[in-house]
Amino acid sequence: MSLSQQPRRGAELQITGIGRDFGANTVLRGVDLRVAAGECVAIIGRSGCGKSTLLRLLAGLDRPTRGRIMLGTGEAPASARIMFQEPRLLPWARVVDNVEVGVPVSEATARRRSRALELLAEVGLADRANEWPGILSGGQRQRVALARALASRPELLLLDEPLGALDALTRIEMQRLLERIWLHQGFTAVLVTHDVGEALALADRVVLIDRGAIALDLRVDLPRPRRRDRPELGALEERILERLFDGADAGGIDAAA
């Protein structure tokens, strides 16, 4: 499993007063969040509360209306990678070429290829390197996307419901893979998810976004790998759901957990 050499530590992420308006619609009011280097934070919240918007801001795909994002020492999130809800693989490029998209262009051609193959092996798809993405299953495609996201050894990995479209079994398998790679590589991770169970299984902290701001910031101090039947997890899930539905009643919006 020591395929990628000298794993890099993650970068600290500091968000101060981040806001984003779309016209008159204020989606994010003011979000303050500090994620320690190498920490995994899960973000949950009702559909449409601005989770993807926040992640796109962190990835640099969108500019905040106000507030500041600091990654590591620099202002620009240069070493961040985002993994989308859809695999977004290039259908006309072989699996290995798709992973190569994530390898920095500064590396030599031969080095890029071997790096891509290394990562495919890491996600358990070494033998599919020369296939077209179109013939892979949904879970396999998402694993290729994960390999692509990790190819540049990002200091911050942003995951926007990457497992949302997968069936329950594949989901658990992918969660284990994610956890293993994260433990091994030590990057900082921000995981957006709809699934409270998933958040509690993977994250060091669970953050709830409600009405444009952080409504709950919960530390999950349980040893890994976490068994799903631990009573502490049930209690935490109860607290989060309660807060979610509270928000729904107060805001008069349909709850979705």
Binding site: A59, G60, L61, I82, R88, D127, W132, G134
Partner: protein
């Protein structure tokens, strides 16, 4: 990397076992399948030809209306011996190709420019769409006034006819590339050139091929009309000459050659398409 070779090998070995057990060489099996595939398409034309020949031999088809295929074949042979046939084919082929290259390249270029740049699109697309609504063959009289019956006339008409399908489909292809993939490319730090080469162009390619094959059809159609109306060489000219001397067999011959050349061009385009779009589910083989 070692995992890839060790787990790929047993699969290939299995395939070999199956092929050998049946005692048929793989290439023979391939040939047989190809013959069946290609053969089915030719069954109907050959049947029609046989029926036509039989009808002519039985005197059901007067020679002055439709000569027998054998008569057409003999006419072709005579023209080959006189050295005329291939000259005409060559002249028509060169015209078709030249017009296609000129019109195709301009259409492709403008399609790309307008697909990639909203400014360019705003500036030119409306005009182009307006011109598109004029059937280009309506310009024949004007073109004859401008160019006479020179090569310029044919080149202009063919290029104009080929331009639009290629332009429209290239533009459409670029505009309909999945925006999520473009966003992914940007998020992964692709430069504009890389984004074009790895995302936009391959994404537009299926549509560009539709334009290419459509353009090839228009190319022959335009050339036939142009050569029939105003030319002093080429297949259309050969057919019009033959009509004046009531050589129906040569007229039919010209029509058949057009059909064969059209089919040839389409086959080449299809083969190219299959090669370039291997990744596409519609073109995936095996």
């Amino acid at each position: 990397m070692t995992a890839s070779t060790s787990s790929a090998l047993p699969v290939e070995a299995q395939h070999h076992d199956i092929a050998e057990r049946r005692d048929v060489p793989a290439w023979l099996e391939e040939l047989r399948r190809w013959l069946i595939d290609a053969g089915i398409g030719w069954l109907l034309p050959i049947g029609l030809l046989a029926g036509w020949e039989a009808a002519a031999q039985l005197g059901l088809l007067p020679e002055t209306i439709l000569p027998a295929p054998s008569a057409v074949f003999l006419a072709a042979w005579a023209l080959i011996l006189k050295g005329e046939l291939f000259v005409h084919i060559g002249v028509s082929g060169a015209r078709a190709l030249a017009g296609f290259v000129v019109g195709g390249l301009i259409g492709f270029g403008l399609g790309l420019a307008n697909g990639l740049s909203a400014h360019s699109r705003k500036l030119t697309d409306t005009t182009l769409q307006m011109i598109r609504n004029v059937p280009h063959l309506a310009l024949v009289p004007l073109v004859i006034i401008w160019f006479g019956i020179d090569e310029g006339a044919k080149l202009f008409l063919v290029a104009l006819g080929v331009f639009f399908p290629i332009y429209v489909n290239t533009l459409l292809g670029i505009l309909t590339v999945d925006p999520q993939l473009i966003e992914m490319g940007r998020a992964y730090g692709m430069s504009n050139a890389t984004l074009f080469r790895r995302v936009l162009l391959p994404g537009a390619l299926p549509s560009i091929f539709v334009g290419l094959r459509y353009g090839l059809g228009i190319m022959w159609l335009t050339l036939i009309v142009a050569e029939t109306i105003a030319a002093s060489s080429g297949l259309g000219y050969m057919a019009m000459q033959a009509r004046e001397f009531l050589l129906v067999d040569v007229v039919v011959l010209a029509i058949l050659i057009y059909a064969l050349l059209g089919k040839l061009a389409d086959s080449v385009a299809r083969a190219l398409e299959r090669r370039c779009l291997q990744w596409h589910p519609s073109f995936r083989q095996g």
